[in-house]
């Protein structure tokens, strides 16, 4: 128990150090370009904590959370699903086209749209999995390529001649009627912005993820494969099947990424549907240490930075400064986690050394040498 607390403390310390470092770099850049950092942070905080902003932050975080969980499940077994980006866009596009054209009663319709999205996401990720287990292709390379191909397919299908309708300068899929939408909730008092109903889906996915990882045999195999695939293989785990299954699950969750926005706000897939969420998901999964609670904090932080930066443009500071902050956070957080890991190893080795040096009659080592 004490050991776990120790590890938690190290992780939290690492995250705090990384955030402080990122804030420092951001301040330097702001100062160098002639803006006062303190004033900027103050304005961001004021704006970001308004009721409407908080609702928007929850909405943004819902989407980010799903993307990060999709990435995290791969990370837990050393599988880098960099293709979440292509998976969610293709899934959202096809699910939107499906939802706009199919006639199903309310309730069933939303469910069907979500299932289609999950299937498409799983299919696209499944290609990566199959290439990896049958042909030994690195999942990183193939999913980068498939991201680009997904962009091409979406561009091809999102055409008035095919699955879309023209709408002024924009092109979009047929809107999903209200019987297929998921209404918002007035969760935050005093806010006009409603919170996505699918917030609860994201929470459910997080809980499901934790149960899957820590309570099931599959989760045990998954973590074992992540630690050492050869050890897992020799203890009877079918690693190839694990790779394929994990990719399918990761892809299915990736398929959900576009759903809160699609069913709760835009109701259609158009050219301006949010892009690049898959890469944000990678960043947040890293920040949250692939842990559902950590990822929740990471998503909220990310969404807060996004939302609160909107005020900066009104103060003549390009709001893109927070993208620099976010990038620095990711880089510094992986560095500090690595340093803390090394520090933890050193401390553990010392503890073992002390315990072994002690005479046998003494009490067992209080630090707990096993970790």
């Amino acid at each position: 128990m004490r050991d776990r607390l120790n590890r938690l403390a190290l992780n939290v310390a690492a995250a705090v150090i990384a955030l402080a470092f990122a804030a420092g770099i951001t301040s330097v850049i702001l100062l160098a370009t002639g803006h006062g950092p303190w004033d900027a942070f103050h304005k961001m905080w004021d704006y970001g904590t308004q009721a409407n902003s908080m609702a928007s932050i929850l909405n943004g975080a819902t989407t980010y959370y799903l993307a990060a969980i999709a990435v995290a499940i791969g990370f837990r077994m050393n599988l880098f699903n960099i293709g979440v980006d292509g998976q969610y866009r293709l899934a959202a596009m096809l699910a939107a086209a499906f939802g706009g054209s199919v006639a199903l009663p309310s309730g069933l319709r939303q469910l069907a749209i979500i299932v289609v999205a999950m299937l498409v996401g799983a299919f696209w990720a499944g290609i990566v999995g199959i290439l990896k287990v049958t042909r030994g292709v690195s999942e990183v390379i193939s999913s980068i390529m498939l991201n680009a191909v997904a962009t091409g397919i979406v561009a091809y299908l999102l055409n008035p001649k095919r699955l879309a309708v023209a709408n002024g300068n924009n092109v979009n899929t047929k809107p999903i009627p209200s019987s297929g939408q998921v209404g918002g909730i007035s969760l935050i008092s005093g806010a006009d912005t409603k919170v996505y109903g699918l917030l609860f889906l994201a929470i459910g996915v997080g809980v499901g993820f934790q149960i899957l990882i820590s309570q099931t045999r599959f989760g045990f195999d998954l973590r074992a494969t992540g630690r050492s695939s050869s050890a897992a293989e020799s203890s009877g785990v079918n690693v190839k099947r694990m790779v394929l299954t994990t990719m399918l699950i990761s892809g299915a969750i990736a398929g959900l990424v576009g759903m809160p926005n699609l069913l709760g706000e835009s109701h259609q897939y158009s050219l301006d549907f949010p892009a690049g969420l898959g890469f944000t998901g990678i960043a947040i999964a890293l920040l949250g240490r692939n842990n559902p609670i950590g990822i929740a904090f990471g998503s909220l932080l990310w969404a807060f930075l996004d939302q609160s930066s909107l005020i900066l443009d009104l103060n003549n500071i390009p709001k893109e400064i927070v993208q620099i902050t976010q990038g620095v956070v990711v880089l510094s957080v992986v560095v500090t986690y690595e340093l803390m890991r090394r520090l933890g190893l050193v401390r553990q080795q010392r503890a073992v050394g002390r315990a072994l040096a002690r005479p046998r009659a003494g009490t067992p080592a209080p630090e707990g040498a096993s970790a």
Binding site: I144, V149, Q323, V334
Partner: protein
């Protein structure tokens, strides 16, 4: 310089053995020349049959050079980094930094040459971040690369907002016009080859088109970029330094135990890699005379793909870049008509591959080749254009197919992507 470095020689032993096995299958110079002539003849035949005159025109060749160079430079960057054992997904981000700094330097100094320097500086910054994170701190290389891509996007946007917005013609997403390199034209070549090209003779006009394209679309920057390719080959494969660098990507423990400074080698490799990606960015800026957000369009990833396509070797990487650059050029100039004509060319190649396999009495590959050729030919007959949206992503699709078909024959550096800590081998 002779190869006498014992450290690297030992570390490289497995590579030598693997190379020897491959060498028996590797093409010699005359064979390559023959393949090139046959390829051009095939294209010429397709041009005569389909009247898609643009597929070997000087314009297309010139566009191919200009579109292939950024890809090749990124591929070259990938080669440096990965040969030293550091995977570089951050090429895209380093390229973005190269475009921004390239445009900014060129804008401030009104000099295209300074734009080139700016590209190198921007890429160097990205490379330095990647080197510090992956070599010194041992962070996962792919993670660091992804983070650099996120970071570079933000830096480009923020700095444009600050520095370009209040200049005439500039804005938060683009720079004002910048100075470019003048094109170097061979006197007389344009008219002479142009005359032959306009006759549309079989093969002769295609050669003229190729030469005219070469003679009219070069600039000092293009020539420098082209020269970097043989230079890289020479440094990495023909010097002791290159052997040491590559030994770090194959077996860092062996290299270190024999006295190679692994950290230094990796630092040099990743910094050079960043500079090459940055130069690719400067090349793009020079091509369009402007910095624009999203200008790199994933070319860093395509460069990576070209390197993998080329089996982590410069010759293959160049072939991949040329192929990807050519599809891009054919598509952007005449759109789907040219590409549609190229379907016939693809069918021809597949047929040739099938015939070759039959000659070697390998029935199954022969059948696959012939059936694939027939299918592609049917596709050609049944349609009269290919959707442009899909053509754009031909490089990625080709890479996927190559990976799926030949991944067993591809051989990446043995220790590529594995974090290395000093003294780990002892």
């Amino acid at each position: 310089m002779t190869v006498r470095d014992p450290a690297a020689a030992t570390a490289d032993a497995s590579q030598v053995r693997a190379d020897r096995r491959i060498r028996s299958r590797r093409l010699t110079a005359p064979q390559l020349l023959l393949a090139a002539v046959l390829g051009l003849a095939g294209l010429s035949l397709v041009r005569v049959v389909t009247h898609a005159q643009d597929i070997t025109s000087a314009g297309t060749i010139g566009a191919t050079i200009n579109l292939a160079m950024p890809i090749a430079l990124c591929g070259l960057g990938g080669l440096w980094s990965e040969r030293s054992g550091v995977v570089n997904i951050g090429l895209e981000g380093m390229m973005i930094l190269g475009t921004w700094f390239g445009a900014d330097f060129a804008l401030i100094t009104h000099s295209a040459w300074m734009g080139m320097v700016g590209g190198l500086v921007g890429g160097l910054i990205g490379g330095a971040v990647h080197a510090i994170a992956t070599v010194t701190f041992g962070v996962d290389q792919i993670v660091s690369g992804v983070a650099i891509n996120i970071l570079a996007l933000g830096i480009g946007r923020y700095l444009s907002g600050v520095f370009f917005s209040d200049r005439p013609g500039g804005g938060p997403t683009q720079s004002p016009q910048v100075d470019r390199f003048g094109s170097l034209k061979l006197p007389g070549a344009d008219t002479f080859f142009g005359k032959i090209e306009r006759h549309h003779w079989f093969f002769v006009s295609d050669v003229a088109g190729l030469l005219r394209g070469l003679a009219t679309s070069l600039s000092a920057l293009t020539i420098i970029a082209i020269l970097l390719i043989p230079l890289t080959w020479f440094v990495l494969w023909r010097t002791a330094f290159g052997l040491r660098l590559r030994s770090c990507g194959e077996n860092p423990a062996a290299a270190e135990s024999l006295g190679v400074k692994v950290y230094t080698m990796k630092y040099v490799a990743v910094l050079v890699s960043g500079m090459l990606a940055g130069l690719a960015g400067a090349f793009l800026v020079n091509f369009t005379a402007i910095y624009r957000e999203g200008q790199t369009g994933g070319r860093g990833y395509i460069g990576l793909a070209a390197m993998i396509f080329g089996n982590w070797r410069p010759g293959g990487m160049v072939a991949g870049s040329a192929l990807f650059g050519y599809t891009d050029a054919a598509q952007s100039r005449q759109g789907s008509a040219s590409i549609h004509a190229l379907l016939l060319f693809v069918a021809l190649i597949l047929l040739a591959v099938g015939a070759w396999a039959l000659w070697r009495r390998r029935v199954v590959p022969a059948a696959v080749g012939v059936v694939a050729a027939a299918l592609v030919f049917a596709w050609y007959k049944a349609t009269d254009s290919i959707p442009a949206e899909l053509v754009t992503y031909t490089p990625q699709i080709i890479t996927l197919v190559v990976l799926a078909m030949a991944s067993q024959r591809l051989r990446m550096p043995a220790a590529d992507g594995i974090p290395w800590r000093r003294g780990q081998g002892t």
